[in-house]
Symmetry: C2
Subunit: 398 residues, 2 copies
């Protein structure tokens, strides 16, 4: 129970003095003889997931570990139809194949987080299963459960209506579709970010309308990005991607600002918050090691830690300064000394060979002295860090 509440921003409705399992979350958990159904919906529109997204997935895993069923809803229906007005960036129309691919990429990335294997712990559903079956009569029925006033009270809409920015009628349907997903899967709890409160509440209303027990909404905080200022987002560049290599991940995480780090521990690890190192630098390293371990395993995390140490001489601040060298102009197979020269780390091929023989060259922190070392393709080097002496680095990119 304590574990399920770790990091949670809000559970609603939460009337702790009530004995009714409809509005007391503890009662609902206690009275349930069978696994609860914990809903979380994702949009298969993008493919790169970052630690910000992982917050809710980790909470979903907590429920799985407590014996409940994670019901992961893939919003393929809306992804396929897009936004008819074409005004929305996130509602581009995708083909069925694109949606399938995106969903698969999505699932691959969250595989380290969720329990995919224990029977009964994960149910993956595509919402086209029920949304494509809705006809006009049913849609009129769904729409009749809400008023224009309620919809316009929603933060996003209220602001736009006030500013006289156009709100297209179909936009009112999106919260209702998400709410109807809860009816379709008979959710007991729906997880979401704090920005999802309205939509989760619509789910409750619709479930009541269809004579189901209304779900609880469980809201998780929105993770602040590595810049310590804005919410983590790919477009802002302040993100740590779940599919990034161990060294990149480690390098980003070991620089998390101290005023943010407790929340990162709370939301991204299982470490007890009262046993953290007192030294800020040690806290950063522990966070980075723990999180990288989750996605790449303990060994790779330790290697990344070592490589990062080598890269920066122990000074994490330098890590952003690593310049990149594009391998696209290099003809493969290619010898390493050639790349040392081409990248500008050495002034000539002969200097490069000399430096290698003298022990001054490292690849991802590992000393390389074999001047004949050859790489077959760009993929063998992409993302790795090439180092000359103690202070000169380039990151090789494809």
């Amino acid at each position: 129970m304590t574990k399920l509440r770790r990091g949670v921003s809000e559970i609603f409705p939460e009337q702790l003095d009530s004995k009714s399992p409809d509005d007391n979350f503890n009662e609902r958990l206690a009275q349930s003889n069978q696994p609860l159904r914990i809903k979380f919906g994702i949009d298969p529109t993008g493919t790169d997931i970052h630690l910000g997204h992982s917050v809710v997935f980790r909470k979903l895993r907590d429920f799985q570990d407590a014996g409940h069923t994670a019901v992961l809803i893939i919003g393929d229906f809306t992804a396929r139809i897009g936004d008819p007005t074409g005004k929305s960036e996130v509602r581009k129309q995708l083909t069925t194949q694109q949606v399938q691919q995106n969903a698969q990429t999505y699932l691959d990335q969250v595989r380290p987080i969720l329990d995919f294997d224990t029977p009964g712990r994960l149910e993956i559903r595509y919402n086209s299963e029920w949304l494509s079956q809705l006809d006009l009569a049913k849609i009129l029925d769904l729409l009749s459960t809400m008023t224009v006033g309620q919809m316009l009270a929603k933060e996003g809409f209220a602001l736009r209506y006030e500013k006289e920015a156009p709100i297209y009628l179909h936009e009112f349907l999106y919260p209702i579709m998400q709410g109807y997903d809860s009816v379709a899967v008979e959710a007991d709890v729906e997880l979401g970010g704090t920005d999802q409160k309205f939509n989760l509440a619509v789910g409750r209303d619709l479930q009541r309308y269809f004579k189901q027990k209304p779900q609880f909404g469980l809201l998780m905080p929105i993770l602040i990005g590595t810049d310590g200022v804005q919410k983590m987002s790919k477009s802002l560049g302040n993100y740590v991607g779940l599919s990034e290599d161990a060294l990149t991940m480690y390098s980003k995480l070991e620089k998390i600002p101290d005023d943010l780090i407790i929340q990162y521990f709370e939301l991204l690890t299982k470490l007890p918050l009262d046993g953290l190192p007192e030294n800020p630098r040690e806290r950063q390293k522990l966070l980075a090691l723990d999180v990288v371990s989750q996605y790449h395993g303990k060994e790779a995390a330790k290697d990344a830690q070592k490589a990062a140490l080598n890269l920066t001489g122990g000074n994490a601040k330098q890590a952003d300064a690593v310049p990149e060298f594009s391998l696209t102009e290099v003809e493969f197979p290619a010898k390493l000394f050639y790349i040392l020269n081409a990248s500008g780390l050495c002034k000539s091929s002969s200097e490069a060979r000399r430096q290698m023989q003298g022990g001054g060259v490292r690849l991802d922190g590992e000393q390389i002295t074999d001047v004949n070392l050859i790489f077959d393709s760009i993929d063998d080097l992409n993302g790795r860090v090439l180092q000359l002496g103690k202070k000169k680095f380039v990151r090789l990119v494809g």
Copy 2:
């Protein structure tokens, strides 16, 4: 052309200086090589039609007579689903059978107005044909063509929103469904009362969205009722029903107030307005005779006129004063003299027989002297007027 514009309140868009048949009604008529499709939609929710409804049907007939196709849309879809909130009187949920019956009754009543027989002049469509085929994707598409602001600008909604009276989301769909009917039947013109302007404009927008030529809206005035004050309506009692008997119809119409009568002539007859009698009483009689002829034929109309004259001694004002006598307590078969007594027209059965023999008794203006005249059932007398002497009347009702 002049005929098509008789009584019309507004045609839109109407840019008379434009050469484009998309916004110049005359051009559209002139350029069309084939019959235009003139849409009118009806709700098969009630069954009794009155002269107020006939105004638009008569205009539809004008278009038929000009060689165009009347496309009569029966809104069976919405009638069958009703209003999910149950708040609307006119959106009660009806069974398919009820809808069919109502539609049939409706059609029977407008049979005297429309041309049902000339090939190609009438197309009857049920909107469930296309509305029941709509899925969520298509509905999102339709809804995306309009904004919340446009919808709330609609008179009925604006007022309610201002008053903070709840507007349910599904209500926004009704104008869109009506508009989509225009797309489905590819209407060139849609007829309606002046209160339908918004809905007809939605039809234009949707047709444009689906790359069709947008329809023209042709609005007819709302007929004022026989009280000369409020719009004609069954619930207000100021109506003349199309299925009422000739005498009832005549009696109501010969009392139309003089300040209303020109509009009645314009909207309910084909008589030239500049050749009407100068005497107000003669105008009333001409109007009544003409309209009754349309629904009951010339002979019946003349008979009704005679009966009405007998009823009132030529003084139309008395006609409202006809009291009613309910036949429900009378045991059938019943002799007429018995009813003369029971109704209070005569003080005893013997007086009744005497009056009949003396020629003082009339039924619907026809003298009855046979004291043995017997009626088998209530239906034989329901609605007829029983008269004693020149001044005493009762209307027999079932």
